[in-house]
Symmetry: C2
Subunit: 332 residues, 2 copies
């Protein structure tokens, strides 16, 4: 019998088709292993083809926008939003609109074209999180901006147009729907129980172990109870943290667990395309007792997203208990 499950965070129901029980080899998805060759605007030596860098990790001896860096953040050449201008909120009859003020930046994670977050040195992964953190803290100072969405599209079918490993951020003058709904659900849960919903999830998953993929000192990796897609995977801090911050000034533990998780996914699903999205509290309510930041990793294995995002209704052919087991058993 298939099962209907509710994700308490988003409030959405999904169907888990336990019978169909798709195994990793049932998914046909293009492998995202890097191919060298061809012009790449993110490779060292081509810095002039992107807008000037916002920050870079590079030796003091190297000038900006030249080779020598290990990580760069640059404005998106084709930004979805513009940093200049007033919000100018307006109505149009019954509709609401405002100017597309915001920022759209690209985090170039490594100078090496053939590396990915799964293969680069751990220290480089740590630096990626530092880059997110620095940019979040800088953009927070702009009173027009309410939220920064940090995300990664890995592979063409996941929406990436360039192969060279990078993530993106979009700073917004509004809080996106998904985050707002999660905040609302988490707030209701806290009002009822005086406990953080995510802390309760973490504790239950650590206790049962059924959907647990891995834990280290500070973080836990789980297959969520009601995943939208096969092998959807969440990373959460074990202790309550409402906003994305480096505990004890280090992202080492987070880098370790992210890289390990991506290596497991690469092993089990043959280097799949994926999206990851950082969900953290909005700027104006950053320190709170009810929301808990986390990273959602969603491999792009199925083709049904069109209908599913239109209906808010998901059919998932792989139970998270199965997915977690495949990942735990992966020899990495």
């Amino acid at each position: 019998m298939p099962e209907l499950r509710k994700d308490p965070v988003s409030g959405r129901w999904v169907i888990i088709s336990v019978e169909r029980g798709k195994r990793p080899t049932d998914f046909v998805s293009p492998s995202q292993k890097r191919k060298a060759g061809g012009f790449c605007p993110f490779c060292p030596g081509n810095e002039h083809t992107a807008p000037p860098e916002i920050i870079a990790f590079r030796p003091a001896s190297t000038p900006p926008n030249t080779p020598g860096w290990t990580l760069r953040v640059v404005p998106n050449k084709f930004p979805a939003l513009q940093i200049q201008g007033d919000l100018n909120k307006m109505g149009e009859g019954i509709f609401d609109k405002m100017n597309g003020v915001g920022a759209h930046e690209v985090i170039i994670e490594t100078p090496e074209h053939e590396q990915s977050l799964a293969t680069m040195p751990l220290r480089a992964v740590e630096d990626v999180f530092w880059a997110y953190y620095f940019r979040l803290n800088d953009l927070k100072k702009d009173p027009r901006l309410k939220y920064v969405l940090v995300f990664k599209n890995e592979g063409e079918v996941a929406g990436s147009s360039l192969e060279h490993s990078h993530s993106q951020l979009i700073a917004l003058p509004i809080v996106p729907n998904t985050v707002r709904e999660e905040m609302d659900n988490a707030r209701k849960y806290y009002d009822a129980k005086e406990r953080c919903l995510f802390c309760d999830i973490v504790n239950q998953e650590l206790g049962s172990g059924k959907r647990l993929v891995y834990e280290n000192e500070r973080y836990v990796v789980i297959a969520p109870f009601a995943p939208r897609e096969p092998f959807e995977t969440w990373i959460l801090p074990k202790k309550h943290e409402s906003a994305f911050v480096p505990p004890d000034k280090s992202f080492g533990s987070l880098a370790e667990i992210l890289q390990r998780t991506l290596r497991q996914l690469d092993k089990v699903l043959d280097t799949p395309p994926y999206n990851f999205i950082l969900h953290t509290s909005p700027f104006k309510d950053e320190i709170n007792d009810f929301y808990h930041w986390h990273l959602e990793i969603v491999p792009k294995l199925t083709r049904t997203a069109g209908f599913e995002w239109g209906s808010g209704f998901y059919i998932n052919p792989t139970a998270p208990e199965e997915a977690a087991k495949f990942m735990r058993d992966a020899k990495i």
Copy 2:
């Protein structure tokens, strides 16, 4: 300057990148024109390869599950939900689940493999709506079921695994998130204004004409103010109707406007893959003053859905005013 717009129905904000202003020819999407050849389980003569028909439109002289039909409804051979069994609602610690009780049916819209809703005789399109209506009314009698989601995946990238023109329905023991949110927003609007949100949208769009594609006696086609995807298109009844019903016992006017709209999309976008989803009131609150049924048609032209459905945040490179103009100008 890009524009941020809020869809009052779903509450979601989208970015309209007016500058990038993508035109129809900028989208590369596989054309969905039918190719004959190969085995098709939905073609006449192959009735035995599908589960026995639930209803069919066929001459009285032809026995069930044999050729002669013009439309058939059959259970999905690989159903996401099962019709037998109890709901058996249960908790698992803090999580909620229930048995996957429901129905998953396929509406085979025509016996002719090479036809689509855009090309088949108008009478056949009318029959498709009658099939939806009959199935909705039958499934409504089952007290375990709360909602029927009627949808169509046209083309492989839109999630369809078979080329032969068909739509699907999934009957559910819960109301899906998207519909619940729309109901909530529409109820709040009604509480504030004593008017239906959708009636106000229809009136504003008919008045301004900017996003109007077409209207006939009973229905209107618009490009919505804050579309998620380029060329997203909605069909709504002009007069308030909370649930999907044939006004004056005819779907003729609806068939005419749907076929016309699909022909315009086929013309402008070279027979694109698309999804459509029927949004109607849930069974238990079918007749109400605040919700207004409608059909959402979403061509599948971009590849960014992975990130976008994960964040609830959409970047649309084509303004709906432009899309509506292209559609109005299409010579069909």
